[in-house]
Symmetry: C2
Subunit: 476 residues, 2 copies
């Protein structure tokens, strides 16, 4: 069954997967020059594949001069192979930075921006922000001269504790909260603290693409779990936990990115039980909770957790005040100390100014009114996409909240070509394969409806549909 893991990692041929896996480990510097690599037999057993498959991988490594053979006794790391990965002009290939696929698409300037799950700045109460800022300077005149602690402003953490208790029914102390600069930093900290190379983790399929990149960079082996409009197949989750003993399950159970699905309350309870049973941490990423279109979502998994297996990542950047970059991590004290230590090596804590502005704005009356308007505005925008989609006959997942819509195009559409042609027409979207740890789901795309106004949204989406139709006909 180990073959299963590998086939979850890549969609290439089996020997190419083993080639990639070995090369990755060589690049990480796990073996030194002239060090002996694992035998064909060992690897064949480890992956439950035929020895010939491993042999083919080694042959390719040899051809490409990453390894050499000595006295028929085995394969050894070729020092020149290491060198070529380690030159001044290509510093990274040897290190831990992988491509961030999404960020490449995000660098494209487009009139019809469907790729970024960002809020239209016009939907924020911009006029009022300077009032809060003025208030902060009146209350804390030396705020710009003062560092925050690494863990974050005590006053803010205490206010968040009260908020969580009231709204999410979970009870943490200020010592169990860490303030980070956005959820990306929170995910990165989780990966750095909890993952070492070759640790197995579970992720949803599809999932939040930058999280794939972060865990891959840390050397994780990713096993995926499908997510549907009704949540997970818990049997699949349990089997994966049992079989692969994953270190953690990174999940986004509320208005899931990219599908918009929400995992029901019964499943949440059960997931926490499974986590405890199989000693698998649940990393609950929850950036869209307040953006519901019909009813409020179920409580976070963290609310069901009594044994400390859930680590809760709550970003406030997406729709509260993107420019402040504030998120929080809730977890039990045993983990917190490690997160603080890890964060202290990366920065000196989120800027105090930003934390104080957030504190005074987030807990204001106005903020809560703003959220209501925001839900309506985003529901209207989501409806526009669904109206246009209903004319196409394509399948899509109707979001009950959040910023994203996940839709399947006709199978015949060549995705790379579609993306190129879209960009030529100043339209961007996210190809599904980027959101898939297995890099498949090639006929799906993620369309975000949070950034464009209603008119742009309709016009841009009509154009995109028209382009897809033209390509789909050309195909026939």
């Amino acid at each position: 069954m180990r073959r299963k893991i590998l086939s979850n990692i890549h969609s290439d041929k089996l020997f190419e997967q083993i080639y990639d896996y070995l090369l990755e480990r060589i690049r990480r510097g796990e073996w030194q020059a002239h060090e002996k690599l694992p035998s064909v037999r060992t690897l064949a057993t480890e992956f439950n594949v035929h020895r010939l498959t491993v042999f083919k991988a080694y042959q390719l490594l040899k051809e490409n001069r990453y390894v050499y053979v000595k006295d028929k006794s085995g394969y050894y790391v070729q020092p020149s192979g290491l060198l070529s990965m380690n030159t001044l002009h290509d510093p990274i290939v040897s290190a831990y930075v992988h491509d961030s696929h999404l960020s490449e698409i995000h660098q494209v300037e487009a009139a019809f921006q469907f790729s970024k799950a960002l809020l239209d700045p016009n939907l924020l109460p911009n006029l009022y922000f300077s009032e809060y800022v003025k208030k902060v300077f009146d209350l804390y005149p030396k705020v710009l001269g003062t560092y925050s602690t690494t863990q974050g402003d005590q006053e803010l953490r205490e206010a968040l504790c009260r908020y969580f208790a009231k709204h999410y029914h979970f009870y943490v102390s200020a010592e169990e909260l860490l303030i980070t600069s956005g959820s990306q930093e929170a995910i990165d900290l989780v990966a750095r603290v909890l993952i070492k190379p070759r640790d197995v983790i579970l992720m949803e399929r599809p999932t939040y693409s930058p999280a794939i990149d972060v865990f891959r960079r840390q050397g994780a082996v990713i096993v995926s779990v499908d997510i549907h409009p009704h949540g997970y197949d818990l049997h699949q989750v349990e089997t994966a936990m049992k079989q692969y003993k994953p270190r953690l399950f990174y999940l986004n159970p509320t208005f899931h990115n990219p599908t918009g699905c929400t995992v029901p309350a019964e499943q949440r309870k059960r997931l926490v039980e499974l986590a405890e049973k199989y000693h698998c941490l649940l990393i609950e990423d929850d950036p869209y909770r307040d953006i519901y279109f019909n009813e409020q979502p179920p409580l976070p998994l963290f609310s069901y957790d009594t044994a400390g297996y859930v680590i809760y990542l709550r970003s406030f950047s997406k729709y509260i005040a993107p420019g402040l970059g504030i998120a929080t991590v809730a977890c039990r004290p045993s983990f917190m100390n490690y997160f603080i230590r890890a964060k202290s090596l990366s920065d000196s804590g989120a800027p105090l100014l930003n934390q104080k502005i957030f504190l005074h704005y987030f807990f204001s009356e106005r903020m809560q009114q703003h959220l209501e308007k925001l839900r309506i505005a985003l529901a209207v925008r989501k409806d526009i996409l669904e109206e246009e989609l209903s004319l196409t006959g394509w399948k899509w997942s109707s979001p009950t909240g959040g910023f994203n819509l996940w839709t399947q195009l006709p199978d015949s559409i060549p995705m790379e070509e579609l993306l190129t042609k879209s960009i030529e027409q100043s339209i961007t979207f996210v190809p599904g394969s980027i959101c898939d740890p297995q890099r498949e789901l090639k006929s799906w795309i993620r369309v975000s409806y949070s950034y464009l106004n209603e008119q742009q949204l309709r016009e841009g989406f009509k154009r995109l549909i028209c382009l897809i139709h033209s390509m789909s006909h050309a195909e026939k």
Copy 2:
């Protein structure tokens, strides 16, 4: 000569150093359970030590159940040893987070805070900051709704280019600058992009302690180069570059932390030549440049570099506006792409609000006037320490700029005990060993004069000296 590296790493006994080194690699997951470890002979050759020394290290690993012996054929990784490092309640020992020694001392609340190289908030033009903030909201009403790009605000980067050209005589384009959240993030990015486990790097001895922690976490082997009031011994630098082929040299050549030394211009030029000759990158950390007490410091190394071997880290957090957390990295485009990619996985760029406030404040007339006052205020504080020191007969390095003073106490003082007793008297300082990659320099301490006002500074320092005297007499 490999023994030299090891004796540079630790101050323990030789076999203990090898024990630590092997345990570290096992913890990193570089060998799997039941995988064979390098032979005694191999390691003895690698480190140029007696086989018995390696044997003793392996015996200790065996006693502690990290390895086992099989059929006399060698040492193998004990799976239970791995497991014990990998439990839920101790998630980190298996991963990449090491202690940040300085941050522990910084957590102590003390009336006489000599340990933090932070600016007294009263020395900042706090009253005027809200004006700049108001200006920012007038100019960019949607600033809180807008993400910066990962690389940083274009307008700020362009302004910095002009500033660097005018003041530092170096010419970069906006594409060659990256905005980070403080210099700690910049160092962390450098380490993540450029270092893989067991890469050798050079660092000054003593040096900026959190940088030691960051490079260690990334798995670097540190070779140290002494720094003196007149700079480096360039022969020592060249020998180290030649012998160890280090990937980079992390250095702080201007008002060096902790010694306050400045590397003269002739040496800077020569260092850049050496870097090019030996393909060793120079990571120039420059957070104190404007805080000079007599004359302006020489130009940065980056100004002398034509071949792209210098990466320049310029923090503005220390004395411009600590609460904004703004720093910049200047480097050639070949590196920049990797830094941007690495940063995009850690956060979404420094908050735009902070970048815009910094932009409008830093380039203002008022800011330049503020710097002049700051230099005078800090020089006065530094003089207070030197007056008190001159009565003791101790050696110290007289700083020509910056925030720190480095002084040697009588050899007989037990440092741990001094720190404990100081903390009891609400006084903190930084023991020299924390600033030493070799963890020696046990009779030195770093005293920062930037945080306390003149009266507190004098009183606190008198108390510290008094305490040291009492311990030094008790010793006799």
